[in-house]
Structure formats: structure tokens, C-alpha cells
Amino acid sequence: MKRFYVMGLFSNFDEAFSTISEIRQHAIPGVSVDDVTLKSPIEHPEIEEVLGDRGSPVPKFTLFGALFGIIFGFLFLASAQATFLVQPQGGKAVVPIPSNIVLTYEMLILFGVLSTLVGFLISAKMMTRRHPLYSEKVSLDQVGVMLELDEKNVDQVKNLFKKHKVLEIREEVSQ
């Protein structure tokens, strides 16, 4: 089934948000706010009020990475230190807890950061091809509202864009 992508470029957030608000209020039957992707040069501080809370799984990656860092860090050190058994210890612990706490703490942070980065790359769908409708103007000073639609809704969406003083409309069809 063919899917249509339509993107309107607006000169400011107000017009773009007005457009999305109308979509949220079901101005076009069959089109919901979940179909909307907003493209902008900056993140608007009130974007969640318009698009709704879409959440981010990145903190879960962070938590996993930090816990992994603690466990792996300590076991890594302890396993290295375990080879010291052949050395005379002079009464000192083979696995010294105080110094291992310092090093485990560093591992916590290192793996926390790395895992957060991996979480970001996955959650934000980075390292993928740019969408055919991507416009360089979005990285300059314009705000894009992109919708994934059925063919029957395309004209209605275009009219909605025009109503809100859209600067440019781009469209793309995918199989």
C-alpha cells in the first residue's frame, strides 16, 4: 500500500504548532497527532504540550550501563587481582575493597556514559538515511511539520498547511 509523506515548512513555531493543534483536534479524519513529525532548528521548550509526551528510553540504557559498570568493573578488577595469589600479600587483602571502590566508581561512569550513547543512537534512530523530505532549511531557521498519510488525506493536509501560512510544501510517495 502506498504511503504518502507530506511536509510543510513554516517560518516559525507558532504556525507549526497551530497546525499540529488542529490535527490533534481531529480536523482531518484519519489523521492523528501520532502521525506528525516535527523538524526544527532547535527544540521548542513546550513541544510536549503540542505533540504529547512521547517519552525516551535513554535513561533505561543509562541505568543498565551504570549497573553493568559496577558489576563488570568490580569483577574485572577482582579477576585481575586474583592472579596475585601467587604473590606474597603481606597480610593485605587480595581484593582490596577501598581502592576497588574508586576504580569501580570510574567504571560505573564509563559504562553509564557509553550505554547512554548507545541508547541515544538507537532511540533517536541515528545513523540512518535521511528522509527524502529532509530540508536544509530546517537546520537554518524554518520549522517543518511532516505527516505520514493515506492518499485520501493528502489534499486536506495541504489545505491545512496553507491555512497556516506554510512557506513550502514537499511530498513523497513510498511503496
Binding site: I42, V58, P59, L103, E106, L121, T128
Partner: protein, 469 residues
């Protein structure tokens, strides 16, 4: 006279154009700076080759002075690295938006300072081919790193800090790299296409971007504190007089912030002048950095005086003799110069008039960093010269080889920084846009007056519309 952190009427397209322009067509001054840095690095390379072939004796390193300028330089560069990422992270979390035009080069400074600092332990090893011995891999080859040694902690901490800081810098640049990608041609476009990781500026990416940036900032604050605490443990974990001090970790952290802030002032003024970033690196922002530096300088001064007082009124006679030796011994001129540069000179930052005078602030920032370099040297050398046993008393001055390598380290840092500012945007375009957007939309005139203007500043109505342009 600039009275606002940023001109909120500035066009977003102009922000892109100004920053991208700074990355094009280096002027003659840039190439002269590059040549100077290359020559400095060449000095260091020649000195290191000589030291490598001849032995560590050419650096005058011998018992009891097993550490000297190398470790002092190591601590200095680690300290320089602190302000960039740490202040950027703190100011990000508390939403101090005046950080936005200046944090990028400060974070780059962090990364390059760490890359410079990391060279010194390697050079100091003598047997550089055994560097991997510090890594705690499980080995049956008889390589047993001493995990109780702060030097091993250094290896962990600095590796973690360098990795995290570099990632923090890189992640913060992704939206800007996409702007560069959209405007570049040739090899630059290919480079930015790869580095921007397919950034499109959609709401999913922004949402997750905000999360990762905040989370990384939260990690980096305790990490930065821990790194310099661990560096201080290189000294404090020993029993040498003048080093075995409880306040060393906060003292080192404050010192690191202090020298880092001073370096930010220097680089701020250089970038503002050479790249004509007057619209972004404004005088009110410089004033804020200067005030912050002054506050940190006072914290550091307090900790220094407390250390003196604790030693003076304490029971340890050897510690007391070492302290008196600093004030009156062979290193006394350098010690007094350090006190002047790092305790007296910062009071110029308290003057409103001087804070707005760029040449003065540039000189002051260099003097502050000279003071902080001497401070690191004064931690190391006098203690080694006046240890517990009189037969170990020995004054040592750095050799030409040592000084050449230290000199070259500044060239190395400068070279990395010069390459950075021409390949990557040194001002965060998207964050400056955010700053302008916020100021334009959310700040009332009354609040703006309260935040940005002083009683004796011109009133808003007298400001031209293109202020700062």
C-alpha cells in the same frame, strides 16, 4: 557598550553564517599561530627523542627528585581540563543559558588539555614501551599492576574522563555538524555527513538528544571531581611533608577550576578578537566568567591559607619546616611569585571597569595561569627538596630537556585547538538560537532589566536595535 548577554533580535540565519564563516579561509594570523605551535611541538619532540635515547638523567630526574616538572605539568593540564566540561555540565543543569555561546570551545579545551596531560606520564615513564603495564588486564606474564596505587587510579580516571568528555563534546556538536553538512562541499561535506550521524532535527532526535545531554552532564560532574581528587591522591596518599594533607582533594579541584576558568577567559578573548564573535562572546558573558573565576579564586585562596594554618598550628615539625622552606628556601622567589599571581592578581577581577577591558583581562588570565602553573611546581619541588632526612635535602632545577617538553606541550595544545576551531564550529549554533529564542519569547522587559542591566547602564530605550551586531 554591550549590556545584554546576547542580542535577542539577531537572525538565526546570521548565527549560522557567522559561525560557518569562522571555519573558512584561515587568515595569515592563523597560519602564523600554526607555525609557532608546530615549532614548539618540534622542540618537545627533539627533546623527547634525546631523552629517550640518552635516559631520564638528561631531565635532571634523580633521587630525591624523581618527579618534577613533568608531574607538575601533568597536574596543570589536568586542571586546565576541568573547567570546560565541569562548568558546562553544571551550568547546563542549572539552566544558565549564558554558557551557550562559550561552552563549545571550553569543552574542546577540556579534551585537548587531557590529551596533553596524558602525554606527561608516558614521557615520565622513561621506558615508554612498557606503558601497557598500567592496564589491569588479567595476565600470567608477571605483570601485576598495584591497584592500591593512585597512579593506577589515574589511568582509570583519566581514561574515563577523556572518553566521557570527548563524547560529551561530540554529542553536543551533532546538530551543528548537521548544519555544517548542509552547507559544506567536498571533503568537509563527507566528514560532516559521517559525524552528524544522520541528524535531521526531528522531534524524536531532539527529545532523545536532550536526555543524553542531561544524563551525560550528570555523570560528568562527579567524574570531574573524582578525577582531580584522584590526581591529588598521587600526592596525598604518600607520607611526604606538604603532601599528606586531608584538604588536598578539594584544594586540587578548586585549583583545577581556577586555572580552567582563567584559560576560558584567555580563549574567549582570542576567539572574540580573531573570529569577530562580538555578537556571541559578549562583554556581559565575559563579566560572568570573570566573576565566577574570582569566586573560585577566593575559594582556592581560602584552602591555601587553611593548609598553611593547619600546618603552622599542627604538631608535625617536619611539615612546618617544609612550609617555612617554601617561604624562605631556594624556591621562595617562585613561591612568592605564585602567591602574587594566584592570590593578589585575581582581585583585578573584582573591578567592574577592568572586567570590561579585554586587553587587561587577557593579561590577567595569563598571569593567573602562570600562578597556577607555579602552584603545581611549588607543590612538587619544595617537598622533594626538603624531605624527612637531611641527607636527602637537595634543590633541583629543571633541565633544558624538561623545559623544552613543557614548552612544547603548550604548542601541542595550541595546535589541537587551532585545528579544532577551523574544522568544527567553536560556537554552538543551535544553542545560541535557543538562547535568542528564549530571550525573545520568554523574557519580559522588566526581567531583562533585572538580569542584564546595572543601574548605571543605558536604559533599554537608548539601545540601538542592532546592539552587538
Amino acid at each position: 557598550m554591550q549590556t545584554k548577554d546576547i542580542n535577542e533580535n539577531i537572525e538565526w540565519a546570521k548565527i549560522n553564517a557567522d559561525v560557518l564563516r569562522s571555519m573558512e579561509n584561515p587568515r595569515i594570523g592563523y597560519w602564523i599561530a600554526v607555525v609557532c605551535c608546530v615549532l614548539m611541538v618540534s622542540c618537545a619532540v627533539a627533546a623527547e627523542v634525546y631523552q629517550y635515547q640518552t635516559g631520564m638523567g638528561v631531565a635532571n630526574l634523580n633521587w630525591p627528585h624523581m618527579w618534577d616538572l613533568y608531574i607538575a605539568s601533568f597536574v596543570f593540564w589536568i586542571g586546565m581540563s576541568h573547567s570546560g566540561t565541569l562548568l558546562s555540565a553544571i551550568l547546563h543543569i542549572i539552566q544558565a543559558d549564558w554558557r551557550k555561546p562559550i561552552y563549545r570551545f571550553a569543552e574542546a579545551m577540556t579534551t585537548f588539555s587531557l590529551m596533553t596531560a596524558g602525554l606527561f606520564p608516558i614521557l615520565h615513564l622513561g621506558r615508554v614501551w612498557n606503558l601497557y603495564w598500567v592496564l589491569p588486564y588479567v595476565s600470567d606474564r608477571g605483570v601485576w599492576p598495584n591497584f592500591r596505587s593512585p597512579l593506577i587510579w589515574d589511568a582509570f580516571a583519566i581514561t574515563t574522563y577523556l572518553t566521557s568528555s570527548a563524547l560529551f563534546l561530540f554529542v553536543g556538536m551533532i546538530p551543528d555538524l548537521a548544519i555544517c553538512r548542509d552547507n559544506a562541499r567536498g571533503w568537509r561535506q563527507k566528514l560532516y555527513t559521517v559525524l552528524s550521524l544522520g541528524w535531521q532535527g526531528d522531534d524524536r532526535q531532539w527529545r532523545n538528544f536532550r536526555k543524553i545531554y542531561l544524563l551525560m552532564a550528570c555523570f560528568l560532574i562527579p567524574l570531574a571531581v573524582s578525577v582531580h581528587s584522584i590526581v591529588s591522591a598521587d600526592f596525598a596518599m604518600s607520607i611526604m611533608p606538604g603532601w599528606h594533607v586531608t584538604t588536598f582533594p578539594p584544594y586540587f579541584v578548586a585549583g583545577a577550576l581556577y586555572s580552567g576558568c582563567a584559560a576560558i577567559i584567555s580563549l574567549f578573548i582570542i576567539l572574540r578578537y580573531f573570529f569577530r564573535f562580538d555578537d556571541y562572546m559578549t562583554l556581559p558573558i565575559l563579566e560572568k566568567v570573570c566573576k565566577l573565576t574570582f569566586a573560585i579564586a577566593m575559594v582556592w585562596t581560602y584552602l591555601v591559607l587553611m593548609e598553611f594554618a593547619a600546618t603552622w598550628y599542627g604538631p608535625d615539625m617536619v611539615e612546618k619546616e617544609a612550609l617555612i622552606g617554601r617561604f624562605t628556601g631556594a624556591y621562595a622567589p617562585l613561591f612568592w611569585l605564585m602567591l602574587f599571581c594566584a592570590i593578589v592578581v585575581p582581585f583585578t577581577l573584582a573591578s567592574q571597569k577592568l572586567r570590561r577591558h579585554l586587553p587587561t583581562m587577557f593579561v590577567v588570565s595569563l598571569i593567573l595561569n602562570l600562578g597556577m602553573f607555579l602552584e603545581r611546581y611549588m607543590i612538587v619541588a619544595p617537598t622533594l627538596a626538603l624531605s624527612y632526612q637531611p641527607f636527602a635535602f637537595d634543590v633541583m632545577w629543571g633541565s633544558m630537556v624538561e623545559w623544552a617538553i613543557v614548552f612544547g606541550s603548550f604548542g601541542w595544545f595550541g595546535l589541537l585547538f587551532l585545528i579544532f576551531v577551523k574544522v568544527f564550529p567553536s560556537v554552538s549554533m543551535y544553542e545560541v538560537k535557543e538562547m535568542v529564542f528564549h530571550r525573545r519569547n520568554y523574557h519580559s522587559d522588566e526581567l531583562a532589566t533585572q538580569l542584564h542591566r546595572r543601574a548605571d547602564d543605558p536604559q533599554p530605550i537608548q539601545q540601538p536595535g542592532t546592539e552587538g551586531a
